[in-house]
Amino acid sequence: MISFNQVNKRYPGGYEALKNVSFDIAEGEMVFVSGHSGAGKSTLLKLVAGIERPNSGSVLVNNQNVGALKGAALPYLRRNLGIIFQDHKLLFDRSVFDNVLLPLQICGFDHRENAKRVRAALDKVGLLKREKANPIALSGGEQQRLCIARAIVNRPSILLADEPTGNLDTEYAHEIMDIFRSFHQVGVTLLISTHDESVLQDGAVRRLALKQGELQ
């Protein structure tokens, strides 16, 4: 489903964020990317979504070479992905409901179905009662769950989450992890980055450990 082959990523300043990274993730797998701040976790996820392009090597998603994809084809790749950004990227000029509606509007889904889908997504993350609120009024944990709702509303087959438990108390963090596990159970492929080893205590999970851009 996702396959990196000898990927190198160098940022304009010359900094090598990823060095010779190779791995394969099968359909339905749940994989964690761990490492300290600056290890290259966000860069790795951005390469999957085509937000950054590799300097060498190949990034395949659904057998599409993302690095070589034309600009006009990128939107259609991203519609198959649900992305939870490290900096949330919520829109504070509209309600919780409208934030979750945005991906559906972008995909041009049927109008009458949209409200139902939005509420289903909000229900999954336990925010159904807050649909009219402005995201700014939500707690950190609720904002994170809102990001998840927005990422899953168009039922993507791959979910990318960049430090979704970053600034959360352990209790909230476990809530979020439980939500991801429920997606894993219904067959979604998940790639989740974290610098917090404590959420990985469950030994059964697959882990890609990054250190200064290199896979350990």
Partner: protein, 303 residues
């Protein structure tokens, strides 16, 4: 099909909401565009009315031949014969000096003054209707008739109409220049409005791009905004012009009654109205398109 239509309606609704989010701001923009467009549109409609007046008055150009005061009956009869034989003339009417004086008395209400005259100061005259109405042909015919014996003066009645026509040509050019300049202004206003909108919506644009919005999806609301704002500006211009004409028609009616004629300003024709609206819509769209093409990728780089 219906589905796509509903989606466009949805975008339109969102655009309208944004346009009037600040009610005063939205209306002010539209008013500015409306006033800018109403200037050339108003001048155009006035010119068109003047044009109509010219055509109405100069519809049948005539040449008046005033005869020498000492012309004899026999001279007049001979002249009448020559005029009727002229190939270029459609119709000849003789107006004797007595009849001319009578007409003058009746039409001007100056009976007392005229009655006090010792003798009739008016000459005998022929009113000649030429077959052709082209200015050159008329001028040639007038010169020819002026050379006839006993003809003191040959006057082309519609000469002033041609002078006015030349003036109107000048006016039309002025309208064209004004319209071009104000069209540029409209494009510039829209260009800037859209630039500010892109700036204030950079978060939404950035997020939308990141979660799979196409360039077309991101552009569309801005283009709709420009086109709608242009259209509303056009409607405002139409209202301003129409209201002004109505306002002018009342004093004009009184004025024209003094001249015993009926002259009212005609409003913009349906065709001209439609052109005005489509043109303003197009200009707004163009301003938005230029702005989006220039600013979208500069403000929020695509990746």
């Amino acid at each position: 099909m219906i589905h796509a239509f509903a989606r466009h309606l949805g975008i339109l609704r969102a655009v309208l909401r944004r346009m009037f989010a600040s009610r005063v701001g939205g209306l002010l923009n539209i008013l500015v565009i409306g006033i800018a467009l109403s200037l050339p549109a108003g001048m155009y409609v006035l010119l068109k009315n003047a044009q109509g007046l010219v055509e109405q008055l100069s519809g049948t150009p005539q040449i008046s031949l005033f005869l020498a005061l000492n012309a004899q009956e026999s001279d007049i009869a001979e002249l009448h014969g020559r005029l009727e034989a002229n190939e270029a003339i459609a119709n000849v009417e003789f107006i004797s000096r007595d009849r001319a004086l009578e007409q003058l008395k009746q039409s001007t209400g100056l009976a007392d003054v005229i009655g006090s005259l010792e003798k009739n100061p008016l000459p005998d005259a022929f009113i000649v209707s030429p077959k052709q109405a082209e200015p050159q042909a008329l001028d040639a015919l007038r010169d020819e008739l002026a050379r006839l014996p006993r003809v003191e003066q040959a006057q082309l009645d519609s000469a002033w109409a041609y002078k006015l026509e030349a003036l109107l040509r000048f006016g039309r050019l002025a309208v064209l220049i004004l319209a071009s300049l104000l069209s540029l202004a409209l494009i510039a206003v829209t260009f800037n409005t859209i630039r500010l909108q892109i700036l204030t919506q950079r978060d939404e644009i950035e997020v939308s791009r990141l979660i799979g919005a196409t360039d077309g999806f991101i552009r569309r609301p801005f283009l709709y905004f420009g086109a709608l704002q242009g259209l509303f500006g056009g409607i405002a211009a139409w209202l301003i012009v129409s209201a002004s004409l109505l306002l002018l028609n009342r004093p004009l009616g009184e004025l024209s009654q003094l001249y015993a004629s009926q002259f009212v300003l005609q409003p913009l024709s349906p065709g001209d109205s439609l052109s005005l609206l489509l043109f303003s819509l197009y200009l707004g769209w163009l301003g938005a398109w230029l702005s989006v093409a220039r600013h979208l990728s500069r403000i929020i780089p695509a990746n």
